[in-house]
């Protein structure tokens, strides 16, 4: 085999790793959409907010420092301590759960039974509110998020695969961060599936996703389940935000990863957890391979920006429910 082939394989592997992150973001959408029929436009901003919260807590920053300073004429900025990563993660999860509870209590509880477009509009409002709120709470500077994940290419893989392609090939270059992200995502997905399948709350969650009226009649509180799924989506957003944030810093552009999740959802179906995973991997691998094989040599590159959407459009035309989504059948 020629070295070119192995570079192709490397592109494929890196595509898989990127796909895992897409899948992670898409998963947050699926959780909420399945249980409540809400397409949560704010998922990307939630990832940003979660990552911002984690980074700021680690740095020991005082929340709402600017507001406090402006009101009381003080000059505080941080507490002067660094919070251990694990504790900071727990605190961030707490913040996301509180956020979930507030969203349900203040917004969606009052919109039960409204048309999907209204719910969607509410999430747009929520997205912009949360963005501003994140600014107010933690400031708008770009933050680095260092939670001890090793960066850079994995030496071991590189050294042990170098022999494959002869003299022109120096081994697969795979980022350590991507490997960690893939592992974390795998554990997270396995955990979520086990939770949905075997726990009492998971069963109730699936019940609510299926039929609200029936769920009520067997004693399930819709309010509780919705807070639960928003919390889970917040947790997933935290993981996604941490992985992307560790890669490229915690800044506003982080919220745009939500846009990457849209084609994944169209491919995998809005209601399927496995669909989000497989869809994410296909988009990740597809856009990297397309760029490597077709984009860069023939089209002048930068195909990664639009490739996923073309695939998604093809799916919308030929299989609108996605690969794994529930079939859309309507009797007239």
């Amino acid at each position: 085999m020629s070295a070119d082939f192995y570079y192709g394989v490397e592109v494929f592997l890196n595509g898989l790793m990127a796909g895992v992150l897409y899948a992670l973001v898409a998963l947050g959408f699926v959780l909420i959409y399945k249980a409540s029929g809400i397409f949560n436009y704010a998922q990307g901003v939630m990832a940003l907010f979660a990552a911002l919260t984690l980074a700021s807590i680690i740095e020991g920053q005082v929340p709402f420092a600017r507001l406090i300073n402006a009101t009381f004429g003080t000059e505080i900025h941080d507490f002067g301590w660094r919070v251990p990563v694990l504790l900071a993660i727990v605190l961030s999860i707490g913040v996301m759960v509180a956020f979930a509870w507030l969203v349900q209590r203040l917004v969606f509880r009052h919109l039960v039974g409204q048309a999907p477009i209204i719910l969607f509009m509410a999430t747009i409002g929520l997205a912009y509110f949360l963005e501003g709120f994140g600014d107010l709470m933690w400031g708008s500077e770009i933050k680095t998020l260092d939670i001890g994940i090793p960066q850079g290419g994995n030496r071991w893989i590189e050294e042990h695969s170098a022999f494959l392609g002869g003299d022109d090939f120096y081994g697969f270059f795979i980022d350590n961060l991507d490997i960690v992200a893939a592992l974390v995502a795998a554990v997270l997905v396995a955990g979520l599936v086990a939770f949905a399948q075997y726990s009492k709350q998971g069963r109730a969650m699936r019940a609510v996703a299926d039929d609200h009226q029936a769920a009520l009649s067997v004693g399930i509180s819709l309010d509780f389940i919705w807070v639960l799924v928003w919390s889970l989506a917040g947790f997933v957003a935290l993981v996604a935000g941490v992985m992307w944030g560790a890669k490229s810093g915690v800044q506003f552009s982080l919220s745009l990863i939500a846009l990457k999740a849209l084609p994944v959802l169209m491919l995998g179906g809005f209601t399927s957890i496995p669909g989000a995973i497989v869809g994410g991997l296909i988009i990740g691998v597809g856009e990297k391979l397309f760029e490597y094989l077709v984009g860069a040599p023939y089209l002048g590159g930068a195909t990664e920006n639009w490739f996923a959407y073309v695939v998604a459009l093809l799916f919308l035309v030929f299989r609108p429910q996605g690969l794994f989504g529930e079939k859309i059948i309507e009797r007239v």
């Binding site: 029936a214 769920a215 529930e326």
Partner: protein
Amino acid sequence: MQDAGTTITADGRTIGPVVMEMKNITLRFGGVVAIQDISFDIREGEIRAIIGPNGAGKSSMLNVISGFYVPQEGEVWFKGEKRPPMKPFEVARQGIARTFQNIALFEGMTVLDNIMTGRLTRMKAGLLAQMIWKGRAEEEEIENREAVEKIIDFLEIQHIRKTPVGRLPYGLKKRVELARALAAEPSILLLDEPMAGMNVEEKEDMSRFILDVNDEYGTTIALIEHDMGVVMDLSDRVVVMDYGKKIGDGTPDEVRNNQAVIDAYLGVAHD
């Protein structure tokens, strides 16, 4: 006789004291009065029917009992206590299970999973306990599975245990819904037109199951039906509604001979 302790029916079943009492219930939707000042009671162990022509307010009444509607006036008394306004899921947790006229099942789940959801209110192990104390949760799961399997046997749906509900024919869906309600081991079982849309054979099956449930488990049943014939054979006592008002209440025989009831069903002109 209404407030007496227990009575024994002709076929040997024991009917206990009043378990639920509706007092002067009035329900309005805007200007439309769906239920107007209706009172009746349900006694432990009996089969109580609410009948009436279409649009009489029967389903509204069932929805009041199960908490889906909150009446503007009147009181609901359950087990000797006045019930505060409640959400449907809270009513379900109190031990009042129901079925729906147009069937509300979890179409994507199997028959077994559907019936298991009926046990959700009985599962005690919390989220953390399930993760930390696995043994306890497993024990509970096994207990619940046993109870559910018994119900599956009882309603003769073993052959479709693993079938997704969405694929079942109408009659079987109705039976699965009954099984799910029964799985909660409710103090009162509310059935909303359990025989609607069924053919004669299915109706006979369903009647038999309703009688058997009442007989075997001693479950108190309140059911709604507009088909008078079936109900008269099933129930111990019947409430008759028409245009949101109660026009009769008593044993099937008493109701059958009630002039107002005959008029309502034969369509005598209302003024």
